[in-house]
Symmetry: C2
Subunit: 430 residues, 2 copies
């Protein structure tokens, strides 16, 4: 019976849980895969940190990069995080030295996944990252293997648990973004510096990875729309509620001809839509393909339990030797699809304008919309302190025109104090 | 590059689609798996049947069993169906003759899966059946591989699309079971003889398979509660609606100590529960495990597209050689857990009694409940023609006591014309 020797680099919350869980489940893994597993080395910043595990001195390695040259190691688990420094060096060097790599590092994969997967193929080793998207939900494995014969044309979902928790809390408790964020931080759902989550960067990295797997394209990791939820106020959430809509931060990717239309931004969706009722830190991913139709995958999007589950499933895949291609295709065959020009995007828009309620303000708004070929479907005006909120929903309009209109509003700060724009995703036009 | 030679047995709706799809996707499969695929033989009852595909005479095999001895064939796809006759012989003989087998045949797997998987392991071939549960949803692969390191304690869901469609239509259109069934038959969602679906047998076969995969136990295919939806009337659906509940046919399996508590029966569930809004032919499967927490999988539960998707994913798995154990464990290690005594089951019950509204009838009902230690939480009486419907919800009660009470009602046919019992599954007690 072959034994696989493992090294874990990074022993924070997740790394420690992986260490514990691998030791606890050794026998089960042996029974299910037919192979033995052995953690022979660990490396982290601080040996003395309390982790609730016993680390023998001879397992400890001070210099993680030296592990990549250790002949006895088969698999390296990278749990340092970030797309530079140690994490980057470790993964590149490990693959070059013919070590399999398992990582939860979406940032690294979104940035260097193409290069890394070429390196992995060249050296006949695996690079797997199930934990990088959707926490424990086996979404990457499902798309790569379960949907192997499908042509996928659309993947979208709630990929960031932190922002989904914040939006759910705002709606549920009628509190501000700031208060919801503080609560999320207290509960450990948001980091002290939450910008990667709340600005949509985390979701953007994840959808970049999913697109590449779904469509067989090179990773599209820049130049697409990435908007977070920092602009979403409790007013918007309440206006949405009145309209039977919910605000969700969605990551969306579609293949349209030879174009990839990829984006992350808050969306107003009907409360009856499949994923409208995914609340809290839960993630949900919707995949549309042929011949399968629509499949939906839900689960906790982060946390040590789900992440550990995904990492161990990757390790097991390597042991049974089933997962040749990181992105489901040989990296050489990945295509270089073009970026869809988002100016041509069409949808209904929710626009809220906080105005100095002077005479003629409605006329000014109407004329800006008319000039830009935007027609308005609903309009509500509500006083807000000594100002007024004008909330409107447009008919289907073109992104470029809406952006021009928004620009006009920002020019006239004495009348238009603040504008908020949220795209609407309805049943007809997903 | 190795070529895998395939034979398809059974060329109905599904078989024909698999044939077409494999031919159409040959290149994609080659690119993704690194192996070639070739359909070298097909067999079905009638060569001349119109299928919209060209079948050369030399591909056609009249006697499907002879394929099991054909040295050139690596994989046999069984799409005949049923747990006896040709289907049974074909799968047993194929495995004995060291052919990999892919099948969508839940009935055969629920009945002979233990034996067949032993045979497969002995002969070092694969027996895969992703299409047998949840249509195209990659649920078996997700549990076996994606959740490999999890201890699963609970799996449940809507596993039969036909009955879910019927219940959804009844609720949506306010029509009878019979009318909804006729509609389902017209649309091809129900078979001419619908008994396997509407009596819960199909869902029972599927949950038997899932239990075995989730809990590593031998297949428990008899002696558990299997109730269908033939007793559910539009009255019950409407009463449920008033209570904020929905009726769903659920298949449920739990591991409690060394016991497996497996069952299929209609359930009243709160409209807010995760799967309450799964309508039409959609299937949804909920898996609770540690460390992953809860994951949910949704998609079309049947039809040629989803089924074909699942079958091809199994074929690809065999080609890349990744799926050693049919049920995720060596069949030798499967445990023989005991059946939970369902008499001890506790839940709230919905009971509807159609009564001859004579004096003292309510007293009779109350005394039967009191005698059996059942306390009533809500009670509504509504006239129905010249009779009355008495609808009540119990507090948590024990199955054995409720069954005794139901028996008492059936004894007195002159007063109690009909009784309907539906178990309630609430948020507290799943």
């Amino acid at each position: 019976m072959k034994t696989f020797n493992l090294a874990i680099v990074g022993l924070g919350n997740i790394g420690t849980e992986v260490y514990k869980s691998l030791n606890k489940n050794k026998d089960i893994i042996k029974k299910k895969t037919g192979f033995k597993l052995n953690i022979i080395k660990v490396s982290a910043k601080n040996y003395k940190k309390k982790r609730g595990i016993k680390l023998s001195k001879n397992k400890w390695e001070k210099n993680p990069l030296s592990l990549t040259k250790n002949k006895n190691i088969d698999i390296i688990i990278e749990l340092v995080g970030g797309n530079k420094g140690i994490a980057k060096k470790l993964v590149f060097e490990s693959l070059k030295n013919k070590k399999h790599v398992v990582t939860a590092n979406k940032s690294l994969i979104a940035k260097y996944g193409d290069q890394l997967s070429i390196l992995a193929e060249k050296n006949a080793v695996n690079l797997l990252f199930e934990a990088s998207v959707g926490g424990g939900i086996p979404i990457i494995r499902s798309i790569k293997q379960g949907l192997i014969a499908n042509k996928i044309f659309h993947v979208y979902g709630i990929l960031n648990g932190t922002t989904n928790y914040i939006l759910s809390e705002m709606e549920d408790k009628n509190i501000s973004f700031k208060d919801a964020l503080i609560k999320a931080q207290k509960l450990g759902y948001a980091e002290r510096n939450p910008s990667s989550d709340v600005k949509g960067i985390d979701a953007a990295e994840k959808i970049s990875i999913l697109s590449s797997i779904c469509f067989g394209c090179k990773i599209l990791n820049k130049g697409f729309i990435v908007e977070g939820i920092t602009n979403v106020t409790i007013d918007d959430i309440n206006f949405a509620k009145e309209l039977g809509l919910k605000i969700k931060l969605l990551a969306i990717s579609e293949k349209i001809g030879n174009y990839i239309k990829q984006r992350v931004h808050p969306c107003l969706i009907p409360s009856s839509l499949d994923i409208a009722n995914i609340n809290g830190v839960t993630n949900a991913i919707v995949v549309d393909g042929a011949p399968i139709g629509r499949t939906i995958y839900e689960g906790e999007g982060a946390g040590k339990g789900p992440t550990t589950s995904a990492i161990i499933s990757d390790i097991s895949s390597i042991m049974v030797g089933n997962d040749d291609f990181s992105f489901g295709h040989s990296p050489k065959t990945k295509k270089n699809f073009k970026k869809y020009n988002f100016n041509n995007h069409e949808c209904k828009y929710y626009i809220r304008i906080l105005v100095n309620d002077k005479k003629g303000v409605l006329y000014k708004i109407a004329s800006i919309f008319a000039r830009n070929n935007i027609s308005v479907r609903n309009l509500v005006q509500k006083p807000k302190n000594n100002l007024s909120n004008i909330v409107l929903i447009t008919h289907y309009a073109k992104e470029i025109n809406v952006m021009k209109a928004m620009k006009s509003f920002t020019k006239n700060k004495s009348i238009f104090k603040k504008t908020v724009l949220i795209r609407i995703r309805d049943q007809n036009k997903l």
